[in-house]
Symmetry: C2
Subunit: 212 residues, 2 copies
Amino acid sequence: MNIKFLIFDKLTALDAVGPYEVLSRLPGSEVEFLAKEAGPKPTDTGMLSLVAARAFSEVDPADVDILLIPGGEGNRPMLSDEETLEWVREVHAGSEWTTSVCTGAMVLGAAGVLEGLSATTHWAHMEGLAKYGATPTSERVVREGKVFTAAGVSSGIDMALTLVAEMTGPKVAQAIQLGIEYDPEPPFDAGSPEKSDPAIVEFIRNLEGQPA
Amino acid sequence: MNIKFLIFDKLTALDAVGPYEVLSRLPGSEVEFLAKEAGPKPTDTGMLSLVAARAFSEVDPADVDILLIPGGEGNRPMLSDEETLEWVREVHAGSEWTTSVCTGAMVLGAAGVLEGLSATTHWAHMEGLAKYGATPTSERVVREGKVFTAAGVSSGIDMALTLVAEMTGPKVAQAIQLGIEYDPEPPFDAGSPEKSDPAIVEFIRNLEGQPA
């Protein structure tokens, strides 16, 4: 199972590393991080870099079984980069699964993958999906055929476990979940806008800026 | 707030990136990844590298406010590496908070930090804590004064949010939680050994190998 993560400068690290930690443990999987140019990609905080092993142009789109696109403010230039969008389209044409986390959905949208589908993204960017012909859906993980979109940042862990269960049945997914001891105990029940103080929701909405 | 993550070859990526995603969003924080030698550090799967910006020898231990040590099979050599352990001891002597995720606790233990304290680690490695004079404790996040230890892999997210709440009060922690949309919905209630199929527990215990 060839799994490719498409990363970029100023990605949100956990968008990628949450599902990486799940999918890399799937027996027989091979996860590789790609970008427009190979090399270290600084995250959106500038405080960490993840390494893209190769340029996506070195990878035959027909060889990609699962594509995952994480989010982050740095993906905005990709939305109009025809080389990237064409590669995503070609991958999607032959993929088993095409997936995104957070604002990675906008790249799928710009490539035309989400046209006519329900999809999700980070709650503060939900409206941006409509311009790509998608129906914004406030669920943590949204599946439409072979397309999975996940909500903000940490939701990629839930999406990846759901995907593994879909591919292999519950036992492998449960084993991976136990391996990463994913028995979450958030100190607050405040992880979605519906559950949060409206002043905090407004604060984060302003921080996130305009939808992509 | 100077926050240093001590990484190494064959670390478990999510151990570090979960709490990084939380702590890097703390206003005024500066997170930096350090290692014995600067440069890309391949994770335990070999499928991703995180970059250590500097060698820890370049950082004055007195300048570290928060230390975080992630886990991963690659930390075993650190347990007998006196240069690393001495740096950890010196950091701990002046830190505001000294923390670990997963088997990162073994490095704190080997440095003498956990002597006489309750502590936690990945469930499959829990017994290993005793040899460092710690009392193994099956809780997801364990606090002893300024020392926080977290359970396996994904638990670092909960630990970091708890730490932020402790430092700044609940509102900042809740804002970060909402920013990363941490409203977990695991597809199974199977993330701890108590909740899992015993056959799966045994399988993962064997995969994890002997306690460090």
